[in-house]
Symmetry: D2
Subunit: 263 residues, 4 copies
């Protein structure tokens, strides 16, 4: 979070690969605390302050040990800046976060919200496009088939955009998890998404850079998925191609094409 | 705001006539600054901090002179506590605030939001029942006939509640203004609303209490509408009856029955 | 934190034994996360929002498992409301919190701050009397002999108050810990302090109330020290007398007289 | 505040001439509302949110008309981010703000605070070097001779820094006002301060740029002092030299050398 050259907190102040230079409109994270009585249910922390001087953030990320951690810094196009607009979003045991946006969202917001399962509707609490995308995907079966549900949700958004004459319906990267597997999507309607990278496995990296101290602090099975590589070490991070889903589980990463057919 | 025994800020800590003892879930106000280039357009201030130690509130209310001022302290049933949930709400030159609630709002929220004019829908930014009530009233013509529009909006809410087997659809007091006239509604579906009072005109009050210093600081045409009387002076405040709208304009107050017929 | 009848969060809204009815000026907690690489160093969370609807508080306290937990809700006499004024305070591995106040603190603040060890001075970040009391106690050796250091700090405050003609120099309860032992002080210059209670040991309590479900969720060695008893179960909580320090460690509670001699 | 290319709010996101690229650690302003009963006493607004999406800021600056307005966006070296650290600071009818810093402030903080007049000491509420500088200047007579008092305060800081082996004791620009006159200092111990500019008088500017629309909205006597020119119009802004005080009153600007002699 803090120490790497391009850590999440460093990115909040200056994000060289991002569409926005500053990501100062709040910060959030989610994790699986695995406490007695609530095993497998994720917890979240959301703050509207910029990450760089957020003192609770520093305390909490130092104190938390967890097998799976989601972190997000926000750059808002416009107000409101409020905790309900901070990522990740949660439903049941699932966490969801998004780096990107829906084109001209205010014009399609109502149509998409009406399409959300009425049972899920009261669970929408903020004003972001990302939260609506999450609830559309939940409506379309995210919890049973995440890839198919994300595909259907995005196609639904693209239809809504078409109907309003909007280009660039969907853009960005999305990370979803049930606590065991992480699905990372890179997709945009116009095939020009935010960047997405994952780390080479740690033993390979340690073999490549035997003298690099920090690598020794990682467990052998540690994996990192990021918008921007944490380090400049050549070979340490692999870029996920456009229109691809990267799936991370105990067996490591694998990639699949995502929405490469015509809409 | 601050100095009377039952001032708005005193009510935030302890509200003897209110349904909630503490109104610590934010504060807001609106006023008509009448600056050049934007005459007649209201400004707003919203804060999620409790009113009693909110330092900006003290600065701003001391510094603002305005012919018409709306103030509100919030007691939320549940989170989120965020500025978009603070009253008053604004649309164009209109301000709206509400003390009360819609029964089991999460169950009717979607039905009511779908009924809001699609042009107005993107303007809903928070999660409160009050904001949806405001936008329903706008949908039904608040800006041309406020009393008829409020009546239609409330009847619409009562129908939605009926459909979900909810009793106590609507409850509370509502204040609406266009900057010239203030309409104050006291109404509940089960005829048991929060209290509402307005002040006797200042010359009468000054004649009744010739020795009361603070009364001399009010202009002759000053009028106050409140949930709880600011002072214990007998005769200073008149209670608005259940199912009534009190209308305040340059001619003073008048009352009309409101929704006294069967639904 | 949340579920007992007089839980910390319930007390934030209504504190029947407290000097202040509402404790809505922020919330904080500290705990010993025992993560690798930082064993024994406490972490803290501070928020200026009232506890009752603070969403991060609910998330974090559900997710944290720790052998030792300090929680505090604040009632401020005056602004500023800011995280640096939230309890607990930390120095090295020590946590400190205070329920009460120093009489006419603004008049003695400078004298007491000047008396703080210059090395510790830059560590004072807020405006509260409690933080100055903590740093005075650190100056006088809190980390080597907590009881003697607290006694010296309080006597120092009483001398400063005397010099300014202030009665009621010190009042309240204080909890201090190094992560292993907790020292709980109840003392006031005029011998009329806030209340302080500790729980009877759990096996005794379970024997007294064999049918009480919640008691089964506590471990056999669980101990609670509180300003107000969490439950109304007769015999469950023991009041700490005026001018007493209660010491809690792995052997349970014991009491000692504290500052009972003339000043 | 908002509309110019290098407005204060634009500078909060990206400050090309500043030492910090992002000024996202809060925003504040002060003004002279001239309301009845409190004529000449300034009011303030402070917020810990970044200026760029701060909704109250937009409302308030649109609604306020005042003959004299101070605005500030903050870039903190470190936490805490809190309202008591936001500029401007106020004492009586005086406002003060600072762009810059004292070198290694934590090491001289205690010495300088002890030097503040004990009567003024309780008025220090935050943790910034700027607030201590203000109170030193007040101690040395700011309200009777602002230039001499600022000179004495800075020399005092330089002596404290010398004593601790600190180079770069003082750096920055300072603006002070009593509501009638504004004194703007540009000074650093090592003669390399933040930039400071003031606007050419409006009639001259209107003559230079007869076709420039926005200039027509300014009154003939409007004056602006800024860290960075609001526009790229050649000739519109004049840079204040190093070690200079610029004095603005009803007669316009004039400059005087400031601390050009050896310390």
């Amino acid at each position: 979070m803090f120490e790497a050259k391009h850590s999440l907190v460093a990115q909040s102040l200056s994000s060289p690969l991002g569409a926005e230079l500053v990501n100062g409109d709040g910060v959030g994270f989610g994790w699986y605390p695995n406490v007695d009585g609530d095993r497998g249910h994720p917890a979240m922390y959301h703050s509207i302050e910029p990450a760089w001087h957020e003192e609770n953030l520093r305390e909490l990320t130092r104190a938390i040990e967890t097998p799976l951690f989601f972190g997000h810094v926000r750059a808002a196009l416009a107000p409101p800046i409020q905790q309900t607009n901070c990522h990740p979003f949660r439903y049941g045991d699932w966490l969801f976060m998004h780096n990107g946006g829906l084109g001209h969202f205010p014009r399609v917001r109502r149509e998409l919200m009406v399409d959300v399962d009425p049972e899920l509707f009261p669970h929408i609490r903020g004003t972001t496009d990302s939260e609506v995308l999450f609830h559309l995907a939940l409506t379309y079966g995210l919890q049973t088939d995440p890839i198919a549900a994300m595909a259907r949700a995005i196609r639904r958004i693209e239809r809504a955009a078409d109907g309003h004459g909007i280009e660039g319906a969907m853009q960005g990267t999305v990370a979803v998890t049930d606590g065991s597997t992480i699905w990372c999507f890179r997709y945009s309607t116009i095939h020009h998404s935010r960047t997405l990278f994952y780390s080479v496995d740690i033993p390979t990296l340690q073999a490549m850079y035997p003298d690099f101290e920090r690598l020794r602090t990682f467990g052998e099975t540690a994996r990192v998925v990021v918008s921007e590589p944490l380090t400049d070490l050549p070979g340490a991070f692999v870029e996920v191609p456009e229109s691809t889903v990267a799936i991370l589980d105990v067996d490591g990463f694998r990639e699949e094409p995502f929405l490469r057919d015509a809409a």
